[in-house]
């Protein structure tokens, strides 16, 4: 594909004026997208009812009622529509982001509606000045915010990408500011109209009152005036501290749930447009490979086939995230496109990595771990201390590759014309997709429009790989017709997604005569070279060890590596929290009390490096609470045991954390059947949780996520490609395996937490495996357990 001209498809390339759809009708349709109606959608009766807090098609619409600022529009009947920058992929942003705005706006929550913000508007419009400065002095300031990473995100909607549990952490302050700015303007407009000082007005539940003159108006009545009333000095906007919250901190049900129990919620896969074509794509099964030849003649007469589009693997497509080259068949229905694609003779050029397999990669990792590495921590003198140890403990831990494995296979619906790109998609990074679509089509970013849909899970910062980008490439080749590109499940897990990488972690500890560690050496071999993924959680453990060294070792791999729910904290937490259990066992001590002692040995005043974590006392509280909740130490039936683990997803480059301690009560039958009966969770709430119901749901889900990692999930590499490409070989646990009892308690602390989207994952595998060890006497140092023999007795 050249950079300027769109790739011409092979097949029915009708001139534009003879396509199935009249071009003028088409433009009218796409123009209407910004308004209210898209032709061709199936709309059940209830979707049209004004009482639904979220429209089935939740994307941005130009305001038909007064817009106070980019986040807020107010209709005459007091309906407040709040725009959400981040994509709703199940984490609750469509509810909690409006809550953060509404808290300050002091509007009637029952009349709040949510819809998406616009990435296109974000390109064209600069961030309001008053959102640029983070208030307060960091995460220990209740009137401030935890450190944010918004540099470069200076469009009007700031952070639209959703990842790293960062939605509340990074957008709370400016969403509160947006609500406060609008409230002050509504008040100012009313005060001006009544000729009274603004300080005498009170706003509550969308009503403004002036007690002295007994006057009253509503947000809906004053909104048009407020929209034209600027604040004299918006930099004076203050945000509420948590002690003043009335809506935030209460349990609010998800605004989008009513749509999700009727089938009305439109996901990317559900988008239907007039004249729409369907595409099924297949990329080279070995990453880095490309297509050699294919024979379109063999399928061109199959029912409904329109054309075939080559998806090249060149400098341009690599720059937008393609992982290999491939081909897409375009047809009048997706099943016909897929059927024809299955019949298309393709010869692949697998590239240089076609002989790689998991066993050879594991050997590479072991060799790398034993070779020289990059020291991330080197505290005291590990080698001298080791030579004085009374006892040595050594262990080798590992995890395999694993994909995000969301339920909705990768897809996007795209219309490219010569002057404009429209993309309907659920994507974790709409701003990035917009930029990449512009690059692929040579159409200016200002003319690229993303119509965000609901997303069937995400679990990694770029969602499901280059789904949107590939769809743009296909639609670019059939300009003038909208195309829905949808991957098969096998395509999605085989070549679409990125992976949590394989890693191998070598531990060596020297214990003193009482069994306390005097030195620990950690050699971690991982290809997770994104930021601090390889060393977060390992560079400064919460356990006081006077001599400690961590080195990172980076073998090479062709497997695409990305963020995955739990991030580097998950494998690293599994390693650390299992190994500390091993040390407790070697010392003949209780694993809870052993942890407790080593945490308590940290200095009260944190220092840099080891002992450098600031939250010693809160760690102890969380650990004690979890032990107490679970009945730690009380008798259990034969074949049952409790395992404990604690982690705070701390990052060496940041000061924020979220402490989470868990106890898992596990049964293993003598024949090796594992049953997780009960989980007790203590989760840090910091100053406040914005929507505690949403956090509970997140934690409940993370128990299942961590359990699946522990029990089942692995991607094996053979001949350079992924073996497990569908649910038959990549199991996801079902209802019967979910613990019958999950107890969640929140621990209040004096700071803002990191977030809640993945903070309860790292503890799950070690807690389960620590219990399994107690029952079976077998210490499993790699997951998933499906590869191990759990029989005992």
């Amino acid at each position: 594909m050249s950079e300027k001209k769109p790739q011409q498809p092979e097949g029915k390339t009708a001139p534009e004026n003879t396509t199935d759809m009249d071009r003028r009708e088409f433009l009218a349709t796409t123009a209407a997208v910004g308004g209210a109606v898209v032709l061709g959608f199936w709309l059940p009766p209830s979707a049209e009812a004004a009482s639904v807090p979220v429209a089935a098609q939740p994307w941005y619409r130009e305001a038909m009622v007064p817009e106070i600022n980019a986040w807020i529009t107010i209709a005459p009947d007091d309906t407040v529509t709040i725009r959400v920058g981040q994509t709703e992929l199940g984490t609750g942003v469509f509810t909690v982001n409006p809550m953060m705005v509404a808290e300050e706006l002091q509007c009637d929550w029952k009349k709040v509606r949510a819809e998406y913000a616009s990435a296109n508007r974000d390109v064209k419009e600069k961030a309001p000045e008053w959102t640029l400065k983070v208030p307060g002095s960091g995460e220990t300031d209740p009137g401030g915010a935890a450190p944010v990473e918004l540099s470069g995100a200076n469009g009007v909607y700031r952070r639209m990408i959703i990842h790293s549990s960062g939605n509340v952490r990074e957008s709370r302050y400016y969403l509160q500011q947006a609500g406060a700015e609008a409230r002050e303007r509504l008040l100012l407009a009313a005060a001006t109209e009544w000729g009274v000082p603004v300080s005498e007005l009170v706003a509550k539940d969308s009503v403004i009152t002036h007690a002295r003159s007994k006057r009253r108006t509503t947000y809906g009545a004053i909104a048009a005036k407020a929209a034209r009333t600027p604040l004299p000095d918006p930099s004076k906007i203050k945000i509420k501290t948590p002690d003043k919250y009335t809506l935030l901190g209460t349990e609010q049900k998800s605004l989008d749930v009513p749509l999700k129990v009727t089938g009305e919620a439109v996901y990317g896969i559900d988008v239907r447009l007039p004249g729409m074509l369907y595409a099924a794509a297949r990329a080279c099964p070995v990453w880095g490979g490309d297509i050699k030849t294919y024979d379109f003649d063999r399928i061109k007469n199959m029912p409904g086939v329109h054309s075939v589009v080559r998806l090249p693997f060149d400098a341009l497509t690599k720059s937008v995230g393609f992982l290999c080259g491939g081909v897409a068949v375009v047809a009048d229905s997706w099943w016909r496109a897929k059927t024809a694609l299955d019949a298309l003779p393709i010869e692949w050029d697998y590239g240089p990595s076609a002989s790689v397999n998991s066993a050879s990669l594991y050997e590479d990792h072991m060799a790398a771990a034993k070779g020289p590495g990059e020291a991330k921590t080197n505290e005291g003198n590990v080698d001298v201390a080791m030579s004085r140890a009374a006892k040595m403990v050594e262990a080798v831990y590992s995890v395999p590759f694993s994909p995000r494995a969301r339920m909705e296979p990768g897809n996007a619906t795209v219309l490219v014309t010569d002057s404009r790109v429209d993309i309907w998609s659920g994507d974790q990074d709409p701003q990035g997709l917009l930029r990449r679509a512009a690059k692929l089509t040579s159409i200016a970013p200002e003319n690229v429009h993303i119509h965000s849909t609901f997303q069937g899970g995400g679990y990694g910062s770029n969602g499901n790989g280059p789904q949107g980008e590939q769809a743009v490439a296909v639609a670019n080749a059939v300009r003038g017709r909208p195309v829905k590109m949808l991957w098969t499940r096998e395509e999605d897990w085989g070549t679409g997604t990125k992976y949590r990488p394989m890693s191998v972690c070598l531990f060596k500890a020297g214990l003193d005569a009482e069994g306390w560690p005097i030195a620990i050496e950690v050699r971690h071999s991982t290809t997770w070279n994104l930021g601090d993924m390889g060393h977060r959680g390992l560079s400064a453990p919460p356990y006081f060890v006077p001599n400690y060294r961590l080195t990172l070792h980076a073998p090479k791999t062709h497997v695409p590596i990305g963020t995955r729910r739990g991030t580097g904290a998950a494998p690293n937490g599994f390693y650390m929290e299992s190994f500390i259990d091993e040390l407790a066992n070697a010392a003949g001590k209780d694993p809870y009390l052993y942890r407790r002692e080593l945490i308590a040995r940290n200095p009260a005043e944190p220092k840099l490096g080891i002992g450098g974590f600031a939250h010693r006392d809160d760690f102890l509280k969380a650990l004690d609470m979890a032990a107490r909740m679970s009945g730690w130490g009380t008798p259990l039936p034969e074949g049952w045991a409790r395992g404990i683990a604690i982690d705070d997803r701390r990052r060496p480059t940041r000061t924020t954390s979220t402490i989470c301690a868990q106890v898992h009560t596990v049964e293993v039958t003598k024949r090796g059947q594992l049953k997780l009966h009960r989980v007790d969770v203590v989760f840090e709430q910091g100053f406040a949780l914005m929507n505690p119901l949403s956090v509970r749901k997140q934690i409940e889900g993370q128990i299942a996520w961590g359990y699946d990692d522990t029990m089942y999930q692995a991607t094996t590499l053979q001949d350079g490609r992924a073996v497990e490409r569908n649910f038959d070989k990549f199991p996801v646990s079902r209802m019967n395996e979910y613990p019958k009892q999950v107890n969640i308690a929140f621990l209040k602390t004096n700071r803002w937490i990191t977030g809640a989207g993945e903070e309860a994952i790292p503890q799950v595998p070690p807690a389960i495996l620590n219990a399994v060890f107690k029952i079976t006497g077998k210490r499993f140092r790699s997951i998933p357990l499906k590869n191990h023999d759990l029989t005992w007795g």
Partner: protein, 151 residues
């Protein structure tokens, strides 16, 4: 080749190969997109619909096999989300991403048709759809609640 399907009480004339999986006829020919594609091999349950009241995975069933039978999709459960299972799902705020929930709800409806007051063991045995967000805890509570709502 055209054939007729009875879906949610409406007779549709469908122009598709009769061996097309029912899922794709529902989604792309008829336009009922509440039924989702997850795996295409009958494993995950996202495509669950009711055929004559039984929960069936529509991605793995040729559309022609549904001719002359009553197909119910999530859209046909109620006009306004007022089916007891839907009400219970809302009460417990079950969905997260929501992608699997049409299938989960229809599986629960089929379960309650068979067992009006299912035990936890019944729920374990009958609810075999995958949820990657891990909403099982709330699905279980909601099924018990729906059983009570049905009286």
């Amino acid at each position: 080749m055209a054939f007729a399907l009875l879906v949610n009480g409406v007779q549709y004339s469908v122009d598709a190969e009769p061996d097309t999986p029912l899922l794709w006829v529902l989604r792309d020919s008829i336009g009922l997109t509440g039924t989702k594609y997850g795996c295409g091999i009958g494993q995950c349950g996202a495509c669950t619909v009711l055929i004559d009241g039984m929960a069936v995975r529509s991605c793995f069933l040729q559309a022609s096999r549904a001719i002359g039978r009553k197909v119910t999709t999530i859209e046909g459960l109620s006009a306004d989300g007022s089916h007891p299972v839907q009400l219970a799902w809302k009460e417990f705020d079950v969905p997260q991403c929501g992608y699997c929930q049409s299938g989960q709800i229809l599986a629960a409806v089929a379960l309650l048709e068979k067992q009006a007051n299912p035990s936890d063991a019944d729920i374990d045995a009958q609810m075999t759809n995958a949820c990657r967000c891990g909403t099982y805890h709330r699905i279980r509570q909601a099924i018990h609640r729906a059983a009570a709502l049905r009286g």
